[in-house]
């Protein structure tokens, strides 16, 4: 499973970064970068919470 962000929807508000900082990071120009798109046992909960918290529904978890 992998994390996917729809950048047409992403508003760079950084909620996902605050919830799952190992996966999401806003760069210095406020563009969202995915640091690691792998969904694992360890990070699944945080990533699912980021998916639910994204105000513009820009994040999804997809099959490899």
């Amino acid at each position: 499973m992998k994390v996917k962000v729809d950048f047409d929807r992403c508003q760079s508000n950084g909620l996902c970064e605050a919830i799952a900082p190992a996966t999401f990071e806003l760069d210095d120009d406020d563009y969202l970068q995915i640091l690691d798109d792998e969904v694992t046992e360890q990070n699944r909960e945080a990533i699912e919470r980021a998916v639910a918290s994204c105000p513009t529904s820009a994040i999804s978890i997809v099959e490899d």
Binding site: Q11, N13, A18, R49, P55, S57
Partner: protein, 399 residues
């Protein structure tokens, strides 16, 4: 035939947290009101706030109250909440850097020092009028810091923000002269800061926005003025009211209040749990931009929908165990709205409240209400006007 209820949201006696609302939620996901349809269940509320077939629904507020021209309606037409599409995205993007989590997290020590200072001011008395002695100066001084205003201006800024807040009251037309005077005062005050930062740049929000204006010319001085006044309006009353509501909820759960005093690390989660059950913005408004059919409800273009944040946050279908518990992790609450208009200042509000509440809990360990106080109607933007509290003073720092 089952009786379908009809709510009057602007009746001062109507309470968005009452049993009639919960009973209506058991029957249907929406209910008709004097102000459009109210959405009562979490799943539908969450979906509608994010649905691009709706725009933020407060844009036509002045017009709906018979105000068609003048300073207030001109300003309101241009604020972030009222605009959509490319202009909205452009201005939000320009403001965003100042509201990033990292920028706000760096202000934590400042929030803490401010909270300590305010608490020191009353704690020995063992009693406090929470709104005027804590919630209002705390919220207002933080806005001053953010906007680069001298902190000692806070009473004036609070006063203006309060008068501007009347634009969301039922008597907005009658209050118009006060509202416009506040708007004018804030405009002039903030314009002086802009002029100052043009001459002497600092490491602050106004300087950053001025630089954005110079480097890519994407923000006019006029737009900058509109945005700064709106930030004062959007950030002051909301935070003040939400802090008062936070105390109301926590003091009715003394075990949770005690726990928060012992475990300041729970501050962040406590804020989430409080805003789920006791949000200050009790309706978040949307207007359909096209005809929308949703689960059996036809909403014509121009139709107004109110998302009732408390009803959604306590919906048993989404929160199987809806009791108040600051250690529980829940689906995200809707107290900051959602979609493209999701509150720009949420990291500010989340952080400043997460810092303040545990400090208050530690230093007022057995706090309880001292009389009924005075409260706004539990509809629209709600909270205490006066909230006297009594307590035995606790220690300033742990150990």
């Amino acid at each position: 035939m089952a009786h379908t209820p009809h709510f009057d949201l602007s009746d001062p006696a109507f309470d968005v947290t009452s049993d009639v609302v919960h009973a209506a939620r058991d029957q249907q996901w929406y209910v008709e009101t004097n102000w459009g349809w109210a959405v009562l269940r979490y799943a539908e509320a969450n979906a509608i706030l994010k649905d691009r077939r709706f725009r933020q629904g407060n844009a036509r507020w002045p017009e709906q109250n018979g105000i068609h021209s003048g300073m207030f309606s001109d300003w309101w037409a241009e604020v972030l909440l009222s605009i959509e599409g490319d202009d909205h995205a452009r201005i939000r993007r320009l403001l965003m850097p100042a509201f990033r989590n990292k920028a706000i997290a760096a202000m934590r020590p400042r929030f803490q020092a401010l909270a300590d200072e305010l608490i020191d001011g009353f704690v020995e008395r063992g009693e406090v009028e929470f709104v005027s002695e804590f919630a209002e100066p705390y919220a207002s001084r933080i806005i001053c810091v953010l906007l680069g205003l001298p902190e000692e201006d806070w009473p004036q800024v609070a006063h203006w923000a309060d008068d501007l807040g009347r634009s969301f009251g039922i008597s907005v037309a009658a209050d118009l002269p006060r509202i416009e005077a506040a708007l004018d005062g804030l405009h002039r005050h903030l314009d002086a800061v802009v002029t100052d930062r043009q001459a002497t740049p600092r490491d602050d929000l106004v300087t950053t926005l001025l630089q954005a204006q110079e480097t890519d010319g994407t923000l006019t001085r006029h737009e900058l003025g509109v945005a700064l006044v709106f930030l004062a309006f959007a950030g002051m009353e909301t935070t003040r009211n939400q802090l008062g509501l936070a105390l109301q909820t926590l003091l009715s759960h003394p075990d949770q209040w005690r726990l928060l005093g012992e475990r300041p690390d729970l501050g962040g989660q406590a804020v989430e749990e409080i805003m789920r059950v006791n949000p200050t913005v009790t309706w978040i408004t949307r207007e359909a931009v096209e005809d929308v059919d949703l689960h059996g409800l036809h909403i014509p273009a121009g139709g107004i929908v109110q998302v009732l944040s408390h009803a959604a946050g306590t919906d048993p279908a989404a929160m199987p165990d809806p009791g108040f518990d600051i250690t529980a992790v829940r689906p995200p609450h809707l107290g900051f709205g959602s979609g493209v208009h999701h509150c720009l200042g949420h990291f500010v509000a989340r952080t400043d409240m997460a810092v303040a509440l545990p400090l208050l809990a530690r230093r007022m360990p057995d706090a309880r209400a001292d009389g009924p106080g005075e409260w706004l109607p539990v509809s629209g933007n709600t909270g205490p006007v006066r909230y006297p509290i009594r307590f035995t003073p606790g220690p300033r720092s742990g150990g």
